[in-house]
């Protein structure tokens, strides 16, 4: 049975990063042009972009192109101040894609919530996580993938993922894609934390210090 893997996440959670990783395999019909560019706009380059806008049009898609398909989108997408922000309707997309007789696999990407907040406010002028959280309960049995896990365990992490489509964890481009950990620039040193003393004294404590 043909499979469509659908990755969704908050803005800034690594949607482009995962789109590159999951589009690497030669048998996967995914966002191939993103592999030749560091960044591209979703609405002009992602192969399913127009179906996210108008889900019923997915009946026009040629499912003979492959056995494995991959698409992704952030919720919301765009920037409010630029007039390009809108909220994809995941349930509607899944409904219409499901009617085409393909197996659907839902993947949810995440990243440290503090970094997400800073990134969204800096780049988009507002914290947009709420829009994604509104739709999260509607997602049945997703596979959760993690930005931090990907950067620490890399190929070994990719080997463990079961998302219904093949993953080219062995492709040398994985290392190129993961060359820079974008979290590093957000991290600062902390001089001390009350919990440090617990480790040093090895005594149990009942309440948070």
């Amino acid at each position: 049975m043909k499979t469509l893997a659908v990755l969704v996440g908050p803005q800034g959670a690594g949607n482009h990063l995962w789109s590159k990783i999951f589009s690497l395999h030669e048998d996967v019909y995914g966002w191939k042009s993103l592999l030749d560019n560091y960044w591209e706009a979703h609405r002009t380059a992602e192969p399913f972009a127009r179906f996210w806008r108008t889900p019923e049009d997915i009946k026009q898609f040629d499912w003979n192109l492959s056995d494995y398909f991959f698409t992704s989108i952030s919720i919301p997408i765009g920037i409010k101040s630029a007039g390009t922000k809108w909220i994809p309707d995941l349930a509607d997309f899944m409904h219409h894609a499901g009617r085409r007789g393909v197996k659907l696999k839902l993947i949810v990407c995440g990243r440290d919530q503090n970094i997400l907040k800073h990134q969204q406010e800096r780049l988009r002028g507002e914290h947009t996580l709420r829009h994604f959280m509104d739709q999260l309960p509607l997602i049945k049995n997703p596979t959760f993938v993690s930005y931090e896990l990907l950067y620490l365990y890399r190929q070994e992490y990719l080997k463990t993922l079961d998302i219904g489509i093949p993953i080219a964890w062995y492709d040398p481009r994985v290392s190129d894609i993961l060359a820079e950990d974008a979290n590093a620039k957000y991290i600062k040193y902390v001089e001390s934390n009350p919990l440090d003393n617990c480790n040093k004294t090895a005594k149990a404590i009942k309440h948070r210090p």
Binding site: Y38, W39, E40, A41, T44, G78, I79, A82, G83, T84, V108, G110, R111, D112, Q113, N114, I115, L116, H118, R122, L123, L136, N141, P142, T143, F144, S146, Y147, E148, L149, Y151, L152, Y153, E156, T160, D181, N183, A184, K185, Y186, I187, K188, Y189, V190, E191, S192, N193, L195, D196, C198, N199, K200, A202, K203, A204, I205, K206, H207, R208, P209
Partner: protein, 206 residues
């Protein structure tokens, strides 16, 4: 019977996941951690077995939850726990082991280890986990940041992933703040910001 061993580098969230995955009433886990914010690692119910795996015994039960960091302190001595040996011993006793490797942002984890212990022990953990990965023991990766972002949705996912009973009742006990928060700073600008903003303008404005 199933033994879930949660293990992560020091400071990656070992206590957090040990508590979360001990909460289901069918799980024999780290009971003391349900009533205390923090408990020394060598008071964990399986602690002695990480040093002396041949002594492994199980109490009554179907699902067991154990936790240990790599490295860990036992009786004041820092050492690498014998997780693989415990897995082998568990199999001999008819209990199926599964290892859940905990991850936290590597930048934060390294800073935390340096501050608390004076050195970064992350490479020691990664080296040992390579052995676990290569051993044939069932293993999965679980994530500190994913819990704080997705909360009960992530716990339910872990139940499916690990084939282990979980509950979302009580998961927020002792958690009033995301432990990563204090490590995160805002940045004014990143070079990719301009590229993204340009790409998101309507065509006529580019």
């Amino acid at each position: 019977m199933r033994l879930l061993i949660t293990t992560g580098p020091q400071g990656s969230g070992n206590h957090l996941f040990a508590r979360l995955l001990s909460l289901h009433p069918d799980v024999v886990g780290w009971e003391k951690l349900k009533e205390n914010y923090w408990v020394p690692s060598d008071e964990e119910p399986f602690a002695r077995y990480w040093v002396y795996p041949e002594e492994l015994q199980f109490p009554e039960g179907e699902f067991f939850l154990a936790n240990v960091s790599v490295p860990f302190f036992y009786d004041g001595i820092r050492q690498v726990p014998k997780i693989l040996e415990v897995c082998e011993q568990a199999k001999k006793l008819g209990v199926e082991p599964v290892v859940a490797i905990i991850t936290r942002d590597q930048n934060i984890n390294s800073l935390q280890q340096k501050r608390v212990g004076g050195e970064v022990t992350l490479p020691t953990a990664l080296n040992y986990y390579d052995h676990i990965i290569a051993s044939g023991v069932e293993y999965h990766f679980i994530d500190h940041e994913a819990f704080f972002l997705h909360r009960e949705n992530y716990i339910k996912y872990l139940g499916r992933l690990l084939k282990f009973p979980v509950t979302v009742e009580g998961i927020n006990t002792f958690i009033d703040k995301d432990a990563n928060h204090k490590y995160i700073k805002d940045i004014d600008h990143h070079w990719l910001d301009d590229v993204i903003r340009e790409g998101r303008k309507p065509f006529k404005l580019r």
